[in-house]
Amino acid sequence: MKKQQQLYKGSLNTIIMKLLEQQGKMYGYEITQKVKEITQGEMNITEGALYPALHKMEADGFLDVEMDRVDGRIRKYYKLTESGVKETVSRMEELENFIRNMQTIVNPNLKLDF
C-alpha cells in the first residue's frame, strides 16, 4: 500500500487538475474525499501533500480561487484557469502515454484504449 502511494505521488497534480476539470470547482477537503471515494480508499491524499500542491499550482497560474461563506466558516474553492485547462490536457496525454507504456512492459498482450 505504501509503495502504491509512492507511485501515485508523482501524478498528484494531474489527479487534482483532472478532478477540477470534471467538477468545475472544489475545496481542499472535498478533493481528498473525492479521491478516496473514486479509488474506494486505495488512494489517500495526505493534507501535507495536497495543500503545497494546490498552492504551487495557484502560484503557477493554473488555478484560480474563489471564497464563500459556508456553514459558519469560509471555504476556499479552487478552479482551473484557462492555462490550467490547457495544462490538464497536456498532462493527461503524458499520463495516458505513461500508463500505455507501463502496460506494454508489464503485460504486452493487453491493449488499452483511451
Partner: protein, 215 residues
C-alpha cells in the same frame, strides 16, 4: 453533524495560539474549513464528541502545523516553511545569482564611471520601488503567507539600501568623481529584492480582495 459557531471558533483559537497561525489569515481560514469538515465527519462516523474528535484530527495534521525547531524558518508552521523555502529559490537565490551576474558581468565591458552611472540608475529604480513596496505593506489588511514572506527582513533591506546609497554618494562627492562604486552589489541586490517582493505583494492584493469579499 455540523459544528456550532463556538466549536468552530475554538478550532480557530487553537490554530492561532497553539500552532502559530496567528499571522497567516489565508492559510488558517483554509485549514479551519478542512479541520472542521474532518471533525464533523469523524463525529458522525465514529459517534464521538467534539472534544474527542478534535485531538484525533489535529494529530493527523501534526507534521504540517507544528514548527520545526531545526529549520531555518523555525518560528512558523512547517506547511508555511515548506512554501517559503520554495519561494526562496525564486525570490532569494535567483536574485543573488542575478545580482552577481549584473555586478561582475558589467565590469569588464564599460568604463568605471559607466558602472557607477548604472548603479545610480538602479538606485533610483530601487528608491521608487522601495517606497511603493513599503506603501503596499502599510496598506496590507490581512497577514497572508505571501505578505509575511514579503515583510520578512524588509527593515534590514531598507536599511542596507539607504546605507549603501548614502555611503557611495558621500564617497563620490568627497573624491569629486564617479570612479568608485563599492556599494554596487548592495544597491543592485536590494533593488532586485524590492522588485521581486513588489511582484509578490501585487499577487497578494488578489488574495486580499477575495478575503475582503467574505470577511
Amino acid at each position: 453533524m455540523k459544528l456550532t459557531t463556538d466549536q468552530i471558533n475554538h478550532i480557530d483559537y487553537v490554530l492561532r495560539n497553539d500552532y502559530s497561525f496567528e499571522h497567516f489569515d489565508d492559510l488558517r481560514i483554509e485549514l479551519l474549513d478542512h479541520i472542521t469538515s474532518d471533525v464533523e465527519l469523524s463525529i458522525e462516523k465514529n459517534s464521538i464528541t467534539f472534544e474527542e474528535a478534535l485531538p484525533i484530527v489535529l494529530h493527523k495534521w501534526n507534521d504540517e502545523i507544528t514548527c520545526d525547531r531545526n529549520s531555518y524558518y523555525n518560528s512558523v508552521p512547517i506547511i508555511v516553511a515548506k512554501l517559503w523555502k520554495k519561494l526562496d529559490w525564486k525570490y532569494n537565490y535567483f536574485v543573488l545569482l542575478l545580482t552577481g551576474i549584473l555586478c561582475f558581468g558589467s565590469m569588464p565591458f564599460g568604463r568605471e564611471d559607466w558602472v557607477t552611472y548604472m548603479m545610480y540608475i538602479f538606485g533610483g529604480i530601487g528608491f521608487v520601488l522601495g517606497i511603493y513596496l513599503l506603501n503596499l505593506l502599510r496598506r496590507n489588511q490581512f497577514n497572508t503567507v505571501l505578505s509575511m514572506y514579503a515583510k520578512n527582513k524588509i527593515k534590514l533591506y531598507v536599511g542596507l539600501f539607504a546605507f549603501a546609497l548614502i555611503a557611495n554618494l558621500a564617497l563620490n562627492y568627497s573624491d569629486g568623481d564617479l570612479l568608485s562604486c563599492p556599494a554596487l552589489f548592495g544597491i543592485i541586490h536590494t533593488t532586485l529584492v524590492f522588485a521581486m517582493r513588489t511582484i509578490l505583494m501585487r499577487k497578494n492584493i488578489k488574495i486580499e480582495n477575495q478575503l475582503l469579499k467574505v470577511i
